[in-house]
Structure formats: C-alpha cells, structure tokens
Symmetry: C2
Subunit: 315 residues, 2 copies
C-alpha cells in the first residue's frame, strides 16, 4: 500500500524536511520560528512588570495576562484594584461565543443573574472613562507593519501589543486580535470598569476596535480559554450554572512570593528577531509551502513569549 | 448601588436599545442581521445539493459541511467516494491546535499511529491533483468585496464561498477563513486525498491559501469542532487516544432518506440581502457602537445559513 497522507503541517513542525519531492530544494528553507527564537539575544526579550501581570488560576491550569497601562492606564488601575481585593476569586467564565469571545466576571451580572447577589466592587470605580483611542505618544515604541490593513490607515506594534493608527488625526488604538483582552461594558461608553473581561477567541472582530477598551493580552493559557464548550444561550452565555468554568483566583504577579512569580518574557516588537519572524512568515519557502503569502496581516502575528529565561547566550 | 456593567454586546443582541445614553439616538439604528434576514426573499436562498452536503455525526451533535465541487471537483469526488464507503465511520478528531485547525481522519495515520492498522481508501484515489488555484471561470458567480485585503489583489465571494483572485494572471482560489474545510496532505502537492480534513478554528491562516486544497465549508456545527480541548502534543495532536472525539458517521445528505436530510439553506452571496448585511457590518451605528469600522474584511463575513425553510414570504 502506498504511503498515506500525513497530517498537513509535517514540514511546519520540522521545518527541515527538504527532500526529493520539494519544489524548493534548490533554496535553503526558511528558518522556523523555533530556530529564529533560539538565535535571539537576551536583550531582545522583556520581562513584564509583575504589577502588570495577572495570574488567573482555573481548574484546568493557569492563564497569564499582561495589562497594557501604557494605553489604558485607568482601566489597568481599576483592574489592579479589583484583583488586589481578590474580586475575581470564585467568579466564573460565563460566556463562550463561538468565533468571538470568552468572557468572565460575576454570574450575577448576567441577564438572568440574581442582582441582589452582585459582588461589591469595593474600592474600584464603577465607571471608568473610555480609553478607546488616544493621542499618539512618540515616547512609546512603534514598529509599523508595512503590509497594509483593511480597517486602519496604519497598523503595527507598540510595546508588544498590536495597534492601529490614524496619522491624519494623530490617534492610536489597540486592536481586537486573537488573545487580546477587552473590557466588557453596557451601552454607556464609561460603563466598563474591568469587572467583566473578555478575550478574543476567533477571527479578529476588528469592528470592535475603538468601541471598547482593550486592557491587555493573554501571554499564556489561550487554549484554556478558547477550548471551552460554547455556551448555548444567546451570545454564547451558558444557560446552566454548572456549565461555567469557575475562577479559582486572580492575582497580580507582584502579590505572589518571588519564587511563585511566573518567569515569562515577551519578545520585543522592535527587535531584529521579531522583524526576522515577520519576514519568515511573509516569505516562507520550504518542503511544504508551494507559494509564500508575501504579506502578513496584523492579527496573524503571534508575539512570542517564553516561559523560562535561558542561560546567557554565548554572544 | 448603581447599575453594574452588563455584558458587552447587549446592543448587538437587541439591536434596538436606543435610549437616552445613545450617542446616535438621532439616527435610526443599523438593522441587525436577524432583521435583515427576516426580510430576505426566498429566491435569495439556495439549497445545497444533497450530493454536496456532508452530515458528520459526532457524539455531541451534527456537523454539516458543503463541498465545493465548482472549485475542487477532484477532491470533492474523492471525498464523496470515501463517504459512500463509510470511510470516516469510527475514525476520530485527532488534532485541535489552538488558533489554527481541528483535524479529523484515521488515527493510525498519526506519527505515532500503527501504520498496519490504516484503513483502506477502497475505491478512492490515494493521490489527487492539487486544485489549489484555477483559472477564473466567468460562468461562476463573483461578488467582489471592495474593502481590500492584505493578502490578495482582489477578494470576494463565489457561489457562497470566500475567495481571492489575481486578475493579472487570471487565477482564483478559495481562502482559509473561519469554518473553511481543507484537505490535509504531506509535502507532496498531490498527497492530499480527502481522508484527512481540517477546519479553520481561529484567525484566518491566509498563509495556507494556494498551498492546500479547500474542499468546502462548515455550514452548521462549528461550535462542536472549535470548542474542543486543544491537543497537548506537537501541532495540537492529542497524546492519548481517549482524548480524541470519535466520528460516529459521515454521510452524504443524498444517501439519507429524504425525511432525514438536513433542511439547510445558504444565503446567495450575490443577493441584495447579502449586500445589505455587508453594508450593515461596515456602517453599524446603534446604542452600543460608538464608531463604525467603515470596512469589512473577507474573513469577518459569516455567510448566513438557515436551518428551516420558512413559509413563503408575503412578497
């Protein structure tokens, strides 16, 4: 029996399967992500401030979220206040809408929830100014992505987050890419306070850009948030309390004893290695890929993280 | 205690929550998807041929896939041959890679599988010509999306499927949007035969366009495929057989007794209602949305389906 088809990313995995069947055997294959990251220098990685790093413990594991106080300082501060009060402990993931968002917060705030059981926000604010867009700050990193975008005049990365700009009006905003964490709100633009958060789990819903505050990005644990059964109620809300995923705790890394703080680093988006990764994504040629895309879309870029800091490189 | 923030798509749900807080109260709100679809005419919907409709039964429910023989006729024919032999019955979902694909087929074809247990393809072909791109066929519907695209010179919809074109070379291809079903292969371009299929479950991996054959689109049941636990092995493969989701059966609708055939229809992508939906997505203004996106990306469009054929409209 002839060899049966393998699973379609064999070459993505090894990146080196150049063989007699390759159409590109005469070229050297594009380096893989792992190969490029292995060659990165220590200085190309940054360690998120433990005051900006949320550690959310679910029964299935840990989710790490980096807050974005450079862009949404008031929301980040309110979320920190909530977390320091242990506001989220014992709350739940209440909504998973397919190809859209996973959302967590107080089940009592649900349309069908018992409003008399709403948890107090304590010292946190009940309303927060929108922070949907802001004046471009020249002091912050901006690494433009020259490949174009359907939704914004200019896109790129700022301090590790995907972002868009309209230079004509000098405004900037974070974009609703996979893994970005936004602040749920009611109709009033100031009604989002961080007690309900959502994360994008499907095709980037860019129509939400400039309509909601983005408070951060999931650095680790997306499979735990995206791989949940979808809620069968309207907008993906779970219809039975037993379907919700309980949140055991949410802590700031800075609240944890030093030994328990997650050792996570994020590749700097203004680093040469990040640029090399984008280029490899645009111009991939190897045994598997017959044509390269030539382009990379903003939300197709997964800014690398690493969990452990390796020993200093030899150079 | 003041009202707490509701969950962020309250207005998306009702579409009519115009109240004193709305910034756009002076305008009438953009009609919702449900409202636009409710006004559609019967002639705007098409019923997929039962020879092109796959019914995949999982323990959790039913998945409906429309094959795309207009674009991948050889792959569609091979998949039909496999299905008629009940090839997929008792096979499994073997891989769920976060923000990428869910894939099903013969677990024995896995890298760690027992090759001696591979199921025979029977009368189906072991290799199939690529069908990655093709000459534009002027006889087929083409509804251009004028909003632009990062990856292709021109994008739009053809016979209900998202597609891209390069008019300079007269070529067309289907695009890897959410819910599109592709044909897994090994490195050789002809090694995909339809016995391993995958569906896009995250941000559209457009780098795969023109590198793999797209055989169809999931019309119903995406939550059953996307809401699965992610595999912990490399590339999202499950490491334990017990983690796989068994496939009870896959049938062509045409094989089923008429009474059991799914009554599903797809909105024609050259219909006025489809155009109105795109426009509503671009220019949404209502109590919730503060600014509209002005644009709609190809893979942000979910071509509507309906499960039951309503009685004839009054006009």
């Amino acid at each position: 029996m002839p060899a049966r088809c393998r699973l379609f990313t064999a070459a993505l995995l090894t990146g080196l399967l150049i063989g007699p069947m390759s159409a590109t055997a005469s070229q050297s294959p594009t380096p893989t992500r792992a190969q490029l990251l292995a060659k990165s220098r220590s200085a190309e990685w940054r360690t998120p401030s433990p005051d900006n790093l949320l550690v959310m413990q679910l029964p299935s594991g840990r989710v790490l979220i980096e807050l974005a106080p450079d862009f949404a300082p008031l929301h980040a501060a309110n979320i920190r206040t909530l977390v320091r009060q242990h506001y989220f402990d014992g709350l739940a993931i209440v909504r998973v809408q397919d190809n859209f968002v996973t959302q967590w917060g107080d089940p009592a705030s649900d349309d069908h929830g018992d409003k008399s059981k709403l948890r107090s926000l304590g010292k946190a604010h009940d309303t927060v100014p929108p922070e949907y867009t802001w004046a471009i700050d020249p002091k912050l990193e901006w690494t433009a992505l020259p490949d174009g975008d359907v939704y914004a005049p200019e896109v790129g990365f700022s301090e590790g987050f995907p972002a868009a700009r309209d230079p004509a009006i000098g405004q900037e905003w974070l974009t609703h890419c996979y893994g970005m964490v936004g602040v749920g709100r009611d109709n009033g633009p100031e009604t989002g306070n961080g007690s309900e958060l959502y994360v994008v789990i499907g095709q980037a819903p860019r129509r939400l850009d400039r309509n909601l505050a983005i408070a951060g990005r999931v650095l680790e644990g997306m499979p735990l948030l995206a791989g949940l059964p979808r809620g069968e109620g309207e907008m993906g809300f779970y219809t039975k309390p037993s379907q919700r995923t309980p949140i055991e705790s949410v802590r700031l890394a800075s609240e944890l004893p030093a030994a328990q703080r997650p050792a996570i680093q994020v590749l700097r988006t203004d680093s040469p290695t990040f640029a090399a990764l984008l280029d490899a994504q645009r111009h991939r040629h190897d045994a598997f890929y017959k044509v390269s895309s030539g382009k990379v879309g903003l939300c197709s870029v997964d800014v690398p993280v690493r969990r452990q800091v390796p020993p200093p490189a030899t150079r």
